[in-house]
Assembly symmetry: C2
Homo-oligomer: 453 residues x 2
């Protein structure tokens, strides 16, 4: 029988689990301090909730739950509707669509402006490759119910603080607006059928450069004139990319191509100014007119965080004012940010950004003889009362065997509880790092010694 997890799935050993737990705790801590509230939704949703929300590509990857019993038999008989009638539920592939469903269902019992975070697994039947998993954690923070640019500012600030707390330095927040991208397409007369494809190409700016973009656009069927026009515009915008001035330049070019007389530019400036005034921990924020972001549901500002240590983004988000209305018919502006949990974990692993003592056992008590087990437990409990982690070995194997086990576990201290120690009620402890040994009669003093070592 195959004992490894199925394709793209992972077991987590204790040392990996401790890291994931640490990451979740560090993230949650900041979300909570900002007043974001946690929720949870079932891992399974009705199929119709998940379908038609996030583009074909994502939906191909949905894991569907098979009907059971009579329902399955009936479905198999109804040959015309095979195979789509075989399932009625599916595993969520992101946390945004479930949030929209949750909000539409529960909005009467939620604050008018609902600030929530959700750290939980999602499932995608991706082809297995390095760093791609079929079960992966997502970490989303979203605000529903307000169109204020302060919302964008707040989600960017909270995510920046998290990254900073985790040890990320000199990261960059890039921000753009979906509506500007559309205006850009109009401005240079890209046929509307090619918008999406051209935008996907533009998104690769940092990776393939202007020449690469030219080539790819031609391959995508854009005519030469339009390509020239687009490149010219891009060139002008690129020069001032990293400054607030870029917004003004963009306004000059693009304002007249915006669909409605709306406040795209004022909204963007407010976000940038707010963040710059509060002071963004360890990161800076820039307007990037070529930022695209994949998800179809974004309607306004979009943003992404990249770190100099990796060539991909580590967080991404934006405003999606229509998603909840699409689902429930009820209008509700919304804006969110998603932290690339698995990516960040990978980076932190590679860059040794986790604390060293994660999951460390403070005290290991080998068992000299079965008759001392109760004494060992009582002693262990007196240390556990001080929140120390204590393991009592349950078998009276030879002490050198038990010490080997302790070494392999990397325990911090060992307490030897032999005949003398039991009789004299002594705590004979050895620090496994320094090799120093000491004898105590008082638990508290021993705890202090442990904590100062």
């Amino acid at each position: 029988m195959k004992l490894n997890p199925a394709e793209g799935l992972r077991d987590f050993m204790p040392e990996e689990y401790f890291k994931r737990e640490y990451l979740i705790e560090k993230i949650q801590e900041v979300f909570k301090k900002y007043g974001f509230l946690p929720i949870d939704t079932p891992v399974m949703e009705r199929k119709e909730i998940l379908e038609g929300k996030s583009g074909e590509e994502t939906e191909k990857l949905i894991f569907r739950i098979q009907k059971r019993g009579d329902k399955l038999t009936k479905a198999l008989e109804d040959k015309e509707n095979l195979p789509s009638n075989l399932s009625d539920l599916a595993l969520r592939y992101d946390l945004t669509v479930p949030l929209a469903r949750f909000y539409a269902k529960n909005r009467n019992n939620l604050p008018q402006i609902f600030k929530r975070y959700h750290i939980a697994p999602v499932w995608r039947a991706e082809r297995a490759q390095v760093g791609r998993y079929r079960e992966l954690y997502q970490c989303d923070v979203d605000v529903i119910g307000s169109a204020s640019p302060f919302i964008e500012a707040e989600v960017i600030l909270v995510v920046s603080e998290i990254l900073s707390n985790l040890g990320f330095k000199e990261f960059t927040v890039r921000i753009n607006d979906r509506r500007l991208l559309k205006a850009l397409m109009k401005a240079v007369k890209v046929p509307s059928t090619l918008y999406d494809k051209v935008l996907i190409t533009i998104d690769k700016m940092d990776k393939i450069g202007l020449e690469g973009i030219k080539k790819e656009l031609a391959a995508r069927g854009l005519n030469d004139n339009t390509i020239q026009e687009l490149i010219k515009t891009i060139n002008k915008l690129v020069k001032e990319k990293a400054s607030l001035k870029a917004i003004e330049i963009a306004r000059e070019f693009l304002e007249k191509f915006l669909d409605e007389d709306n406040n795209v530019f004022e909204h963007l400036k407010k976000i940038l100014e707010t963040i710059n005034s509060v002071g963004n921990k360890s990161g800076n924020i820039i307007f990037d007119p070529f930022l695209v972001r994949g998800m179809a549901y974004y309607t306004g500002p979009i943003f992404e965080i990249s770190s100099p240590v990796v060539p991909f983004s580590i967080a991404g988000g934006g405003r999606f004012d229509n998603l909840i209305e699409n689902l429930s018919g009820q209008k509700a502006p919304a804006c969110g940010f998603s932290i690339g949990f698995e990516r960040i974990l990978l980076i932190m692993n590679e860059q040794n950004m986790f604390p060293e003592n994660l999951g460390k056992i403070d005290i290991f008590i080998p068992l000299f003889s079965e008759e001392y087990f109760v004494d060992a437990l009582k002693l262990a409990n007196s240390f556990r009362a001080h929140s120390l982690t204590v393991e009592v070995f349950p078998e009276a194997k030879k002490i050198n065997k038990q010490m080997k086990i302790a070494n392999k576990k990397g325990v911090s201290n060992v307490i030897f509880l032999g005949e003398n120690e039991v009789k004299n009620k002594e705590i004979n402890i050895k620090n496994m790092g320094t090799g120093e040994s000491k004898t105590f009669t008082d638990v508290k003093k021993c705890v202090e010694w442990i904590q100062n070592n």
Copy 2:
């Protein structure tokens, strides 16, 4: 479109999430102090791993994952093997079978005696009824690799400490041994084909009494003589049920019917003595010769915890020395305890056993004017640096509207940041519980005031 979760599934609102989180934290804290290690496994396992392990009843409840693409098309063509060939993966229905798979796969990289806990959801397609969910959390602690009775003692002690910490009082740990049940069946000459059914009946002792048992045994086809014999034996054992002496009485009756010359009684006594010597927090432990436990895989001692506040058990476990061998061909003794997470949550809710301030927002800052948003954020950050939860309202609505929102949220304090406060750098705070207001210029002093209120 239906917006509620599908049958048997639940959304968790923030206030419910906080309770679940609290419960998990309180449980984990104790597991960790005892040196148990956390792991995680995928929610999906290969179907063949889950099938054939836990009895027909449980397996009927498995949610299966449908194959996709070409695989699905092929499966539909292969009519002979329909419908079982439509799926290759399934959602786990417990945490024990995944543990056995995990251990068999990873044992070379795990400690020889592996102490692990796992708190995670499982899925069962149960018929919806009050308190039965299709997605439910399980909370298991298990030790693999040791046959010592100290293992049983330790898992019972750790679970008892957890229940005690959660506020459960006067609970009872009942303990028996699967082999004694089999011996009992032999002793009174129950036909071996009826063992399971008769045991299910005996398990109801506390609920239906001796008369009820008699009736049910007759209905199950047991002959009168055997019933009489069984009742006689039960009567003798019942008298001393709650004392260590009961083990000696059971030994007299049953020892000669044990399959092998093994140490059932010594093992049981060691467990009871160890626990009694260490002192079991808030609970007592008794030998209960009629405790049965449902799971097919138990091989030795079995145990259960019941609380006077509810008519069902709140934790159950036992030794399962063959499960890992069945799966992998490698011998590994194992013993575990499972805490009834959802039941405990239900009880704690009903009995008001959760702290009052779960998820409380410490400070709410209404927004007097958009121009003060940055000041409000800066002020908020200075309190967040002291680990306080601060929410800044993002829209400059009328203050009485914002105060209504604050009241609805049940925030602890409100800081008013108007023109004067911004100009004079004052912190004008009101405790929403007592109604007391105070003005500070120093954040630290204000934090102290908040913490002492």
